[in-house]
């Protein structure tokens, strides 16, 4: 077997004060895949990323990235990171192209003087996220989705083998979401490992090949089709989700016992369909648009329509 691009063996992270954020995490991720990291807030998604990025040193276990230690992997520009954009100072006097250029610093000499190839990489990265025409803008002048795209471009400019994205779909418009998903597919087709943390359940089947379910430790990891099941999600989220089930006897008067299950934490829901409340993931993008054209629902209406609400 070829070694994974990221291999975590029995990794534990304990914060000062004895708070165990991760315990015995075993995870192997390969190149050319898009893997979703799913878990509730506080499950340790950010800590897992921080461990891979070397911000947190595991109290136990070992992380190897393309056969290197974390430190070496960062030195070699193997890992690119797209942060949540909340903690950025948007008033910082810096233009879009300057931000993307910082992604090239690891490839430059000590003086960080941009060569032609760096400038080309910046242009190409901006082009790929459709932000080239905004290159001379101060970053605070952009919309939420545009800001996110700039940071994705910065990671692209780094031309890394691994791209980590922390909740990339929060606070962005649907157009950006679609273009990011297309971009992830392109990247993985070219051998990049795309590792995305999200608590947005419904979007996972839309763009992930694999999913890793996390609650302090990896509860399940594998292809979306088999691993992203109701049972695994219940294990992961236990009681923290809104959970709606509709069975055949409510929907129609025949012997069909199949049911619909809707799992949501108030974002795009996960819909499962079949016996015992569903084994099959319902993919919804087309449904979305047809529904939207008829009557765009307001959030309130949406919730009232749901027949039952409650935890597991």
């Amino acid at each position: 077997m070829t070694d994974g691009l990221i291999t975590m063996k029995n990794v534990s992270v304990t914060y000062p004060g004895g708070n165990v954020a991760l315990q015995d995490v075993n995870l192997t991720l390969h190149k050319g895949t898009i893997c979703g990291l799913v878990g509730i807030n506080g499950a340790g998604k950010s800590t897992l990323f921080k461990a891979i990025l070397g911000f947190e040193t595991p109290s136990n276990g070992e992380i190897r990235i393309a056969g290197n230690t974390v430190k070496k992997a960062l030195k070699r520009n193997i890992v690119a990171y797209v942060p949540q954009t909340e903690d950025i100072d948007w008033d910082f006097p810096i233009l879009v192209e300057d931000v993307v250029m910082t992604g090239r610093y690891g490839h430059m000499g000590v003086l960080r003087l941009a060569k032609t190839k760096d400038k080309m990489a910046v242009n190409e990265a901006l082009e790929r996220v459709d932000m080239l025409s905004y290159r001379k803008r101060q970053i605070g002048e952009l919309s939420g989705g545009q800001k996110k795209r700039v940071f994705v471009a910065r990671a692209l400019a780094q031309s890394a083998q691994i791209m980590l994205l922390d909740e990339p779909f929060t606070g962005i418009d649907i157009k950006t979401e679609e273009s990011l998903i297309t971009l992830f597919r392109d990247l993985s087709a070219n051998g990049t490992l795309v590792f995305v943390s999200t608590h947005n359940l419904g979007s996972v089947p839309r763009f992930c090949d694999e999913v890793a379910l996390l609650n302090r430790t990896i509860l399940a990891h594998g292809p979306v089709e088999t691993t992203y099941s109701q049972n695994n999600l219940i294990k992961t989220f236990g009681g923290k989700l809104r959970h709606h089930q509709l069975f055949g006897h409510v929907l129609h008067d025949d012997a069909d016992t199949r049911g619909v299950t809707v799992l949501t934490d108030c974002e795009r829901p996960l819909v499962l369909y079949g016996e015992q409340g569903g084994q099959k993931i319902v993919r919804m993008p087309e449904q979305d648009t047809s529904h939207e054209s008829e009557s765009p629902p307001t959030p309130q209406e949406d919730k009232e329509e749901k027949p039952t609400e409650g935890g597991f």
Partner: protein, 312 residues
């Protein structure tokens, strides 16, 4: 007329004072571009007050004052970090606590051995009375600072803008931060000589704050800030000859004067410019940011679809 204008330059001490002030002003201004962006403005003040006992002690023991200043600064910085780690006190409280303690100790030292040190020289500074050996020290400190800043300004920018990203591209964040504080302490020590402990803060804030109003690119901000710092310092020292005033007070007054002018007249962030934008906005209420937005290819669709898209 011209003869009397050139008169200060016929005195060796005046020429020295003007040149050294310019050098110190430029160095402090370079650092100010960083300080004001991080909310660390008061750090300069804290350092300036904290090094007073070190300087006093060095004078008493007959050592170069730089050594005393350096140790006092390092001690102050580490006590700030230590107290912060142990207690839950807020940063400004700790800063206030530590630097007043150090300053008080410094005053105590000075009053114990009044003949050895000119108290006024430390508190108010007087570049006109600086000895030749001190001038050599000042020139050495400032040129070293400036060279290091010019070599590393991009790295510092990357860290100040997004520290986590700087780590993922394997910049030695910890070491660079220590270097930055070392440079700041060194610049503070030299500013102590020119404007005194009480006014150092102005030297490491005002030029950067003024430049910030004028530009949206970091390297331009540095250039403008250094220009303002250098010219006001040189001019302050020069004018003090005619006005027979304390040069420190004059330098800071000049810097403040420029800030006020820019505050009103800055092309985009000035008071008048903001008014103009507001007026335009009320004339043309369809465009939320006045003429700013007309050149902006806003993706209306994405703004429109943000809400409807997210709830699915």
């Amino acid at each position: 007329m011209i003869e009397s204008l050139l008169e200060p330059f016929t005195y060796n001490y005046m020429t020295n004072a003007i040149l050294v002030s310019a050098l110190v002003g430029g160095t402090c201004a370079f650092l100010s571009s960083y300080l004001i962006l991080k909310g660390w403005a008061l750090m300069g003040d804290a350092l300036a007050h904290s090094i007073v006992p070190g300087v006093a002690l060095a004078y008493i023991l007959g050592l170069p004052y730089v050594i005393g200043a350096f140790f006092a600064g390092a001690l102050a910085a580490s006590s700030i970090m230590f107290v912060k780690k142990i207690t839950r006190l807020k940063e400004d409280t700790i800063l206030g606590l530590v630097f007043t303690t150090f300053f008080a100790f410094g005053l105590l030292l000075v009053s114990i051995k009044p003949t050895a040190i000119d108290l006024q020289a430390i508190i108010l500074g007087n570049i006109l009375a600086v000895s030749d050996s001190d001038i050599v020290q000042l020139v050495f400190i400032c040129t070293t600072c400036l060279i290091l800043l010019i070599l590393k300004w991009r790295d510092f920018m990357a860290i100040f803008f997004d520290e986590n990203h700087a780590r993922t591209i394997a910049l030695p964040v910890g070491r660079l931060k220590i270097l930055f504080f070392a440079l700041l302490s060194a610049a503070t020590v030299s500013a102590l000589q020119t404007v005194g402990a009480c006014l150092v803060i102005a030297m490491v804030i005002t030029p950067g704050a003024t430049a910030y109003l004028l530009t949206e690119r970091f390297h331009k901000m540095i250039i403008l800030s250094v220009f303002i710092g250098t010219t006001t310092s040189a001019l302050g020292a020069y004018l003090s000859y005619f006005l027979n005033t304390n040069p420190g007070g004059l330098i800071v007054t000049l810097q403040t004067f420029i800030f006020i002018v820019i505050f009103f007249l800055a092309p985009k962030h000035g008071v008048f410019a903001q008014r103009r934008i507001m007026r335009k906005q009320s004339n043309n209420s369809a465009l939320p940011y006045g003429d700013n937005i007309t050149s902006l290819p806003v993706d209306n669709q994405s703004i429109f679809s943000t809400n409807t898209g997210e709830q699915k």
